[in-house]
């Protein structure tokens, strides 16, 4: 296959942790930080940094609030994030054709 046939990969999604976070958020209306941490096995610090990057790119929305007396951080994928994820998966397929 010619190199010209490869679609460039979105560097923001081509990271193990960010990709895992986006994969989880793709499947649920919203997920809280604790759930994302448990599912990805990441440390709180690392996960916070990666969530921040995804938020700055407009791929996810983050809202902070309280559930009872406990603070809660909820993450939700945006339409832009969904489109970016679809484009990323299409790009991946061009590499394995």
């Amino acid at each position: 296959m010619n190199d010209m046939n490869f679609i460039p990969l979105d560097p923001l999604l081509h990271s193990e942790l960010r990709l895992a976070v986006m994969s989880i958020l793709l499947d649920v209306p919203e997920a809280d930080f604790v759930y994302l941490k448990a599912q990805t096995g990441a440390t709180s610090g690392n996960l916070s940094v990666q969530i921040d990057k995804l938020q700055q790119a407009g791929y996810i929305e983050v809202s902070k609030g309280f559930k009872g007396k406990m603070p809660q951080t909820l993450c939700q994928i945006t339409d832009k994030g969904r489109d970016a994820f679809a484009a990323y998966v299409n790009a991946l397929r061009s590499y394995i054709k």
Partner: protein, 203 residues
């Protein structure tokens, strides 16, 4: 950029989604099993007490069952791992919540009308037996749940058990304690079996 191959990326996506789905579905069948067991046990207790004493007032035990079920569900949800709500779990939750509200509301309304009619000597032209109505509602909610969960076994179990129970209550006297046994049968086929199937599917 991290050293992720295309194959590894696709595998990571598939595995993460699968793991998350399993985690969300892990305890989803438990409330159905809890309510099914409560419904079946309550129906058998009411049938036994009603048969022994001849008093249909034992049907008030359904309200006690609702309270026990509500408390049990609260503690079950509180002790389970916190997982996000999916569209399917949200719809299922709403279906059964409204089934509960509608059924309890209807029973209370029928009771109030009966008490008022008796107290003021008002002739009741239509006798409403809430049992068969709740039975059909239970069957309908079970069928819709099966459709939402995409589980043909649940749809079949709900439709067939409701049809059998409809035939059963048609051939026994309306004031017979045996009428209440349909809820034991429906509890098994519409709540317990689908709950077990849901638990198995999530493993």
């Amino acid at each position: 950029m991290e050293n992720l191959s295309a194959e590894n990326s696709l595998r990571l996506i598939a595995e993460t989604i699968e793991r998350s789905r399993k985690s969300i579905a892990k305890n989803s069948g438990k409330p159905l099993i809890l309510w099914g067991c409560l419904d079946t046990i309550t129906a058998i207790i009411i049938w036994a007490l009603w048969s022994c004493t001849g008093s249909p007032q034992w049907n008030l035990l359904w309200f006690a069952m609702t309270v026990i079920g509500g408390i049990g569900t609260y503690f079950m949800v509180r002790n389970n791992e916190k997982v996000p709500e999916t569209e399917v779990s949200r719809i299922l939750g709403r279906i059964w919540l409204w089934f509960g509200i509608f059924s309890i509301g209807m029973i209370l309304l029928v009771l109030i009308v009966a008490v008022v009619c008796t107290a003021f000597d008002i002739p009741a032209h239509i006798h409403i037996n809430s049992g068969p109505i709740i039975m059909v509602l239970l069957g309908l909610c079970g069928t819709i749940s099966g459709v939402v969960m995409k589980m043909k076994a649940v749809i079949a179990s709900s439709v067939i058990s409701t049809a059998i129970c409809l035939i059963y209550i048609s051939v026994i006297p309306e004031d017979s304690p045996a009428q209440v046994l349909v809820f034991a049968i429906l509890g098994i086929f519409i709540l317990i079996i689908p709950g077990i199937l849901l638990q198995k599917k999530s493993r």
